[in-house]
Symmetry: C2
Subunit: 129 residues, 2 copies
Amino acid sequence: MISFDTFKPTEGTPIYQQILLFIKRGAVAGTIRDGDELPSRRVLSALLGINPNTVQKAFHLLEEEELIVSQAGAKSVMKITEEKIQKLREDLLRENIRSITGALRQMGISREEAFKLIDQFWEEEETEA
Amino acid sequence: MISFDTFKPTEGTPIYQQILLFIKRGAVAGTIRDGDELPSRRVLSALLGINPNTVQKAFHLLEEEELIVSQAGAKSVMKITEEKIQKLREDLLRENIRSITGALRQMGISREEAFKLIDQFWEEEETEA
DNA sequence: TTGACTGTATTATAGAACTAATACAGTTGG
DNA sequence: CCAACTGTATTAGTTCTATAATACAGTCAA
């Protein structure tokens, strides 16, 4: 059963999109594997304190992207191949790194300074965990 | 007069927020300076192909953050001190770098690999420009 | 088998983002 | 001066996000 213990929804981004990202990033990291069961719509919505329809929207999109399979009456299950994971990895990395490099460039930050800042934040977060 | 030639609105984020970011990043980069005139609401909305009310919303927020001053009948003008710029710089950097390090960590990307990827994308974008 | 849990669907409501049309009052340049 | 441009305000309608309350049919374990 996939755990949502580390899922902390943020303001500003639709919750259903954050659920999508959580699953995709977990698949890329290897913490979510093919065949893993997802919590039911109702259970997860209660756990996160959100509406079941919001979870359903996220799961429906995962189904459309063929990352999970659902069957009326039974729990949804992850269905990911190594090929899909590699594609996810490339898509997510490109999207994320494009946005950060673009933002830093618009602020006139040099590559060297960017590395220094990232290094600093990386350590801060490591000490938090 | 502040130029919006390099402003390319993206899908997924509210346009008025993107206008806010464009101005703030320009101030941090030094390409937008104290006293600079902004295009009028109507002119900018026509230029960007969006609704005047969307521009008005962005400018109104800039006014609330005391980064511009507006006066009925006259063009809005940037009003930024070195102190405000430093604060903007810290806020924007913290926000951006936090999000990227969090995303990479959730994907199981190591700091070394992150640096390699950023280096790669940085060069790609430089060759584009 | 059967009752509790599943996925799925429908309808209604509310707020935010964005567009649209209009109006009014203040400024500024020719 | 005054016409054209400015900021500001109001009202209305659409789409998206999220909530809420149900309803129905399929599954699965006791």
